[in-house]
Symmetry: C2
Subunit: 344 residues, 2 copies
């Protein structure tokens, strides 16, 4: 079999503000690959099917010497993210051609990979679309489930505020809060997202671009739990509208990722005045503790159609740069992912 | 017996920035009192002996319509704070002349008080100076003990940073952290305070006015526990120098109390990047839980001379305004208090 083009998405330059497709993230078709002869060295050859595009990837687009919680993308090399691939060839004893794997997958059409964690074989017991494993059943869904159960200490009747409430994480948080009997306020940046938050059960859903967040929180609050996906001014408003002993769960601060100066918070004295607790968390360290309970709880509800979730799927690896930018600007309409190839 | 002058300290105006003696806090001698005939209405008449001056009192110097965790001082009336008085006359069944009481005491030489909590009779089983009940054995000492035990989750060998480490709270936190086998970094605003932090056992003690806080923390950290008494830039530096899973205990933010604009914090995204937990707390809600353990632990150590603490005592009720200002500016040299009168 002759060599075929292996399209790749390269990290070409570190952005200061928003990442621009073609400048910071570049699609490249200069490499080729022979699928039948490429050496596996004990690993596997996969065809990439689905790639997740997530807000935190912005943090990896930086110079390698700057420390952070995720490694910087290697300059000039393919970026990577959570994804799903189908195995074409394997030299690994537990994985055979036709199996599916998930983990951090390079943004290229075909990859030879070593099978080391977090890369692992993935099953699909409920026969759901593979893409669900990147959204409601994957990292975002698990993030919502784990953070809520670990930190919310939710009591029936409490008031919960969820920012980015139409996002992959936030929309499940809204549904978990409703299951726990809470009143839920959700904010997002478009009327379409507001509608989706209401479908998810939010009692109050508003567009922060046209409605003042603090005014809504003062009217509908005080808030007992704040699930923070955005940081910045919204976080400040939540501090102002917090009830005594409120719990803040900080899952991300997307409003700050593209602001090189940093976004100021002014209301931190409320933390002691109101005896607040604020917990930041990342997916990775919590995952082992909650894995079993998640698997027992959420996939059956999803299979039964009892959890609302939305995918925003773009076609083709060349779209990655544009999707990354759209997500940072809040232009996505559901869990953002790129469909790279069909299974056959 | 004729009427005698009853000197009082009045709240005369709400300051925007630093409170000025004579303008916002005014000493007044226009009232008189007859100690033998003033009606008690079932309460007690006390002579004020000692008054505690604390940083949080700044927050009570505000217009009454602004909500906060402590009530505003009533305009034109005497301010009040924690204090000790000796009972001159009593119509209360459990309290007799010669007993001592503690609680929120009006800033006047003599007061007729109802005996309702937090006012209560106080014993002195270790025969220590009464003033200790306002410092190391009182609210500041209990604040340090309760906050540390409730939130620090300290492990031997961890690195602890204490701001305002020479203060009434901070100096005990340093000693508790050392008892738990931690490495302790303390900051304060004078060379004399730096020396006192070293006497308390701080491994590293520095003057934040002459040494860059972030540089010290980066060199001696990362920090696992931050005890925050000051907020503002110091809090921001601590976020920057925090270890993963660090615990922040927010006891006060004195650097912000006199800044009407508010003090910006820029490093809040570190909260999720480093999985930090931040707990703010107030004395009152924690007190019932820890009262017994405090009484069993700290007074015996103080009586045995095993706890270092410092008082900064000013003579006379007319000094209150100046002491309040000095404390906000960090000019005190120990637990600030005003000695109003001797017992006899």
């Amino acid at each position: 079999m002759p060599s075929i083009t292996n399209g790749r998405v390269l990290f070409a330059a570190a952005p200061e503000g928003y990442p621009e497709p073609g400048k910071h993230i570049v699609y490249d078709t200069s490499k080729t690959l022979d699928l039948e002869t490429v050496p596996l060295n004990g690993g596997i050859l996969i065809k990439t099917l689905e790639l997740s595009i997530d807000p935190y990837m912005r943090g990896q687009m930086r110079e390698a010497h700057i420390p952070s919680y995720m490694p910087a993308f290697p300059m000039g090399e393919p970026i990577y993210s959570l994804g799903i691939g189908v195995v074409l060839r394997s030299e690994h004893s537990d994985i055979k051609a036709g199996d599916h794997v998930t983990g951090l997958i390079p943004h290229q059409q075909y990859s030879v990979l070593k099978v080391v964690p977090p890369l692992r074989k993935i099953e699909n017991p409920h026969h759901l679309p593979w893409s669900f494993a990147l959204g409601v059943l994957g990292m975002p869904g698990q993030t919502a489930f784990m953070g809520w159960n670990e930190y919310s200490r939710a009591k029936k009747g409490e008031t919960v505020f969820v920012s980015a409430g139409a996002g992959a994480v936030g929309s499940l948080v809204i549904q978990l809060a409703k299951m726990d009997g809470c009143k839920v306020i959700g904010s997002a940046g478009s009327e379409e997202k507001v509608r989706f938050m209401k479908e998810c059960g939010a009692d109050i859903a508003f567009n922060y671009k046209t409605t003042n967040t603090l005014e809504v929180l003062k009217k509908e609050g005080p808030i007992d739990i704040y699930w923070d996906n955005v940081g910045g001014e919204t976080f400040d408003a939540a501090l102002d509208a917090a009830a005594s002993n409120a719990r803040f769960i900080v899952c991300g601060t997307i409003s700050t990722y593209n602001d090189p100066k940093g976004t100021p918070i002014y209301n931190m004295p409320k933390v002691f005045e109101k005896c607040l607790s604020i917990n930041g968390f990342l997916y990775q360290p919590l995952e082992p503790k909650w894995r079993q309970q998640f698997a027992a709880t959420i996939p059956p509800l999803v299979a039964a159609g009892k959890i609302k979730h939305k995918e925003d799927v773009y076609e083709g690896l060349d779209k990655v740069g544009g999707v990354i930018l759209a997500l940072q600007k809040g232009a996505n309409k559901g869990k953002a992912m790129v469909h790279v190839a069909d299974e056959v």
